[in-house]
């Protein structure tokens, strides 16, 4: 492999390998190489950590009137092992907003821990005499909210305008 002569080529190779964009022959060749090349393996590990860190979803907050709108800036999952649950807690429970709208359009999956987090956020808002609503959940998430009857407490809206109007 020409990894050592051309560092840029190696970066591209590693990025494509980690994102599973390489054909089988190139995967075979690269794996045969890194199994005996410590330098390339360390690069691979560094890039894996880099991609893991960069890929982590963040929650952005914006204020529309007196409503705090929380958006996931990347694809997200609200599950026991995902960092987004922890982030959601700190975005809602550590703030004093009374009107909160959570945009779920980028959330592909929610498990019991995620539902628990949403309910904890809802309880926090109610305790502060506020409101918490959801924006644009996927059909899977919507189904889950319906099955667990959480949709009777947490109202969902398909677009931001109608969601914001509902707070008035």
């Amino acid at each position: 492999m020409q990894c050592h002569e051309e560092p840029m080529l190696r970066e591209e190779l590693i990025a494509k390998y980690l994102l599973k964009r390489l054909d089988a022959d190139t995967v075979e060749a690269f794996e045969s190489h890194y199994l005996v090349c410590d330098e390339c393996f360390e690069e691979l590990r560094a890039s894996q950590l880099l991609i893991a860190g960069l890929g982590k979803s963040k929650i952005s907050r914006r204020q529309v009137g007196d409503v705090a709108v929380l958006d996931f800036t990347g694809p997200a999952q609200l599950t026991r092992l995902s960092s987004e649950v922890k982030e959601l807690f700190s975005s809602v429970l550590e703030q004093k907003d009374t009107k909160v709208l959570i945009d779920l359009s980028r959330v592909s999956r929610i498990d019991s821990a995620g539902l628990g987090a949403l309910m904890a956020c809802y309880s926090h808002a109610v305790r502060n005499r506020g409101l918490l609503k959801l924006l644009n959940p996927s059909s899977e998430v919507q189904n889950l909210l319906r099955i667990t009857k959480i949709d009777s407490l947490l109202q969902s809206y398909p677009d931001e305008r109608s969601a914001l109007c509902s707070f008035e």
């Binding site: 075979e28 950590l49 893991a52 960069l54």
Partner: protein, 171 residues
């Protein structure tokens, strides 16, 4: 051909990475497969089947591929209804150790400038073209390689100083 204890540990670590890559981070039998690969590998080396030391990597990789293939076949045979194979284009799932390292990775990334993070994210994660990245960052295309390499270099230094010792321990 002789190997030191250190070589064995390096092989083990790399094979673990490879098996995780192909079978997903929650496969419960990774250690067994790594051990099986190493047992077959050292057996074959002792039997003189590795004729060309230059092809050691391909030889070891081939044995590991066979072990993975056999494992998959066994799973399909024993419980075909329970198998949900990884989609071929699915990116590598976060490993358990990566979840544990999350805070350290975040701290490392925070040491980079916004521009470095934007560039690295665009290149490594969003797979955007050089032209698109340069346009967004207002960077001459000729400088892209150097800028990207320097941004990665800064993360690499953080990795070697803080993340690698933990990653080695965990992985």
């Amino acid at each position: 051909m002789e190997f030191e204890q250190d070589d064995l540990e390096k092989f083990r670590r790399k094979l673990r990475f490879k098996v995780f890559y192909h079978l997903g981070s929650f496969c419960p039998d990774v250690e067994d497969m790594v051990q099986e690969t190493l047992t077959r590998f050292f057996g074959a080396v002792n039997d003189g089947k590795l004729r060309n030391p230059e092809s050691l990597g391909a030889f070891l990789n081939g044995i590991c591929n066979n072990v993975i293939r056999e494992y998959r076949r066994r799973l399909w045979r024993d419980a075909p209804q329970k198998i949900t194979p990884l989609a071929p284009d699915q990116p590598v799932a976060p490993e358990a150790d990566l979840l544990e390292l999350r805070d350290a990775i975040d701290a490392g990334l925070m040491q980079l400038s916004d521009r470095d993070r934007t560039m690295l994210r665009a290149f490594f994660l969003e797979e955007r073209t050089k032209e698109e990245i340069c346009r967004e960052l207002g960077l001459p295309e000729l400088q892209f390689r150097v800028a990207l390499f320097r941004a990665k270099e800064r993360f690499r230094k953080i990795y070697h100083a803080t993340l690698k010792p933990q990653a080695v321990w965990n992985h």
